[in-house]
């Protein structure tokens, strides 16, 4: 157990360092950043806000990590969020309870995931194309459900999911933490995680090794749809309405970015959900530092883009390789020719 913890810590060190730097920046521009108060029966503070506002991205990147680990990608999560929010809102507006609404929305999310999964695993369509279909059509379907309006609702049970608290902690935080831990436990305590990585590294040989890659792929997209639906319900509950046009808009890109910042390769293989979740928190902390610094909001996107490019460049294979050569040549034991030969042989 201690071994696992230590290896998990080693794996997430870069993400933890980046997060620490961004949080420090937050602290520098806003000294009260780390203060957390308990008021009106709930926790208040900027740190809590980062955890709370990051919930949709965090939820999405749980499913996205698994999809990317199989060498896939799920572009439809933003649209699935819109559909799930629309379904939940229309069910409560029709007089159903919040439980029915939640189950209905999650079921629809799973259905969307199933559709993507079947396209990818059974019809063998490239993931980026297969999920593009739902990304384009999904918002249209969501608008069809809400009939083009923003469906508002007052159901307290549903609102509790997005804006409420449990023992003082905002519900969305608990939901993404719980789901993240549950999925991590399931894939790491069983062989599932390894099987998913095997598919990502080489699907053909994993099938020859006896892995039922078809079923696993469908499951992975199903989980992604489920996570997206949960995120969609939370976003809808937060604003007490389902906005088919704007709910989860471009969030798929944030989620993919979170997974990449988490150090997971878009080419599949080894993955870490915890690192992805840290990636989501990094993105949210960057948003927060821009807001708190009081810079004109026009600069938000430029700064975010520059920070992201910097993080990606640090993690890019070429820079990693260059760092490796520098480190290797700094050590007198390793002759400097070895890495050069290595480079040539890998090319």
């Amino acid at each position: 157990m201690r071994q696992t913890l230590r290896s998990a810590f080693k794996r997430t060190t870069p993400q933890l360092l980046i997060l620490a730097v961004v949080l420090l920046l937050n602290f520098l521009v806003f000294p009260d950043f780390f203060s957390i108060k308990f008021q009106h029966g709930r926790l208040f503070g900027n740190l809590i806000d980062v955890l709370n506002r990051g919930a949709p991205t965090a939820l999405l990147c749980i499913g996205m990590t698994l999809v990317i680990a199989t060498r896939g990608i799920d572009l439809s999560v933003g649209a699935v969020m819109a559909i799930a929010g629309a379904v939940a809102a229309s069910l409560v507006v029709d007089g159903h309870g919040w439980g029915t609404a939640l189950i209905g929305a999650l079921a629809v999310g799973c259905l969307c995931g199933l559709w993507n999964g079947v396209l990818v695993a059974v019809l063998r369509i490239q993931p980026i194309v297969a999920t593009l279909v739902l990304m384009v059509a999904g918002r249209g379907i969501a608008q069809l459900i809400t009939e083009g309006t923003i469906l508002t609702f007052v159901n307290p049970g549903l609102i509790q999911l997005g804006a409420g608290t449990v023992v003082g902690i905002p519900t969305p935080i608990l939901i993404w933490l719980a789901l993240g831990l549950a999925v991590t436990a399931v894939v790491r305590r069983t062989a599932l995680g390894m099987l998913i990585e095997a598919i990502g590294i080489n699907e053909g040989s994993s099938r020859l090794a006896g892995i039922n890659s078809r079923v696993l792929l469908v499951c992975v997209y199903l989980i992604s749809g489920f996570c997206a639906a949960l995120a969609g319900v939370i976003v809808a509950a937060d604003i007490k309405g389902a906005d088919a046009n704007n709910a989860g808009l471009w969030l798929e890109l944030d989620a993919i970015l979170a997974v990449v910042i988490g150090g997971n390769s878009l080419l599949g293989g080894r993955f870490s959900i915890i690192a992805s979740l840290l990636g989501a928190l990094i993105i949210q902390s960057v948003n927060s530092v821009i807001l708190l610094s009081g810079m004109p909001p026009e600069f938000n996107l430029v700064i975010k883009a520059l920070i992201i490019i910097a993080i990606l460049v640090i993690q890019s294979p070429t820079v990693k390789h260059a760092l490796y050569i520098i480190r290797a040549s700094a050590q007198p034991i390793v002759p400097p020719e070895t890495p050069k030969e290595l480079k040539e042989s890998t090319q």
Binding site: R124, A137, G148, K304, L312, S316
Partner: protein
Amino acid sequence: MIRTTHLPLAVTVATFLLAYTLCAWQFPAMLSTRVVANLLTDNAFLGITAVGMTFVILSGGIDLSVGSVIAFTGVFLAVILRDTSIHPVVAFALVLLVTVSFGAGMGAIIHYLEMPPFIVTLAGMFLARGAAYVLSTDSVPITHEFYDTLQSLYWKAPGGGRFRLIGGIMILTFVVGAIVAHRTRLGQNIYAIGGGQATARLMGVPLARTTVSIYAISGGLAGLAGIVFSLYTSAGYSLATVGVELDAIAAVVIGGTLLTGGTGFVAGTFFGILIMGLIQTYIVFDGTLSSWWTKIVIGGLLFAFILLQKGLTWATTVRRKPAIDFAAQS
């Protein structure tokens, strides 16, 4: 017999003709030159963007930044024409220089840092949109007599249709794009990279130069599309053309280009654009359908074309398999 590589293009053209016939059968007014002229004018900026996207997708990459680049171009032109006395032609040259370098920069990052195009152009999308915000968050109107001159250029066809300059620019872009793709070395190199990067390198294709060129072309064409869009709307707005990259990708796929790269035609994209424009025109003509049906129908069409391509690849591999087996035995 039609070659299998040409079949997706043939199906796209046939789909367009069939859809147009059905539309015209229901609404005879659809046949008027006005509708045809508007189809070209309204989709001019999307068409120009899609030509660049075709090159990128042919090479097996993707460019998510084009929508933001169009918005940036519009705002850049509007602000420069409002605050300085630079002639629009000079401003056009400036903005094209900026967008070409922007695209080339992304291409260089993709090639030299070995990062996936998806992520690099995603960061580019944020950067270009952010730059547009920094220039202005308001919609800036463009008033310049040169703009009025350009906008008043049109050829009036019999029947009242006005074929405007921007529609002409789009068609010219498609013609030049088709020539570059099928008749130049750069075009062949792009197809080669899309067919397989390792093979292309072994064949002696200059990977670095070609990759940078591809994204520079896409950036430059997005800049041209931005100029056309500013002529179309007479304004620059940083929130304009959100999601155009998706429409462009959809048009390319409906046009029969494989997203894996290596197979496709610039002409197919042209018909992809026309089909998407036709769906919107039909919804306007019908009057009872809501705008969201556009998205659903385009999604459905995407699905249908992907299935068609899948079926074709499957059919060709099955047909070729015995030959491979025979070769393996002998």
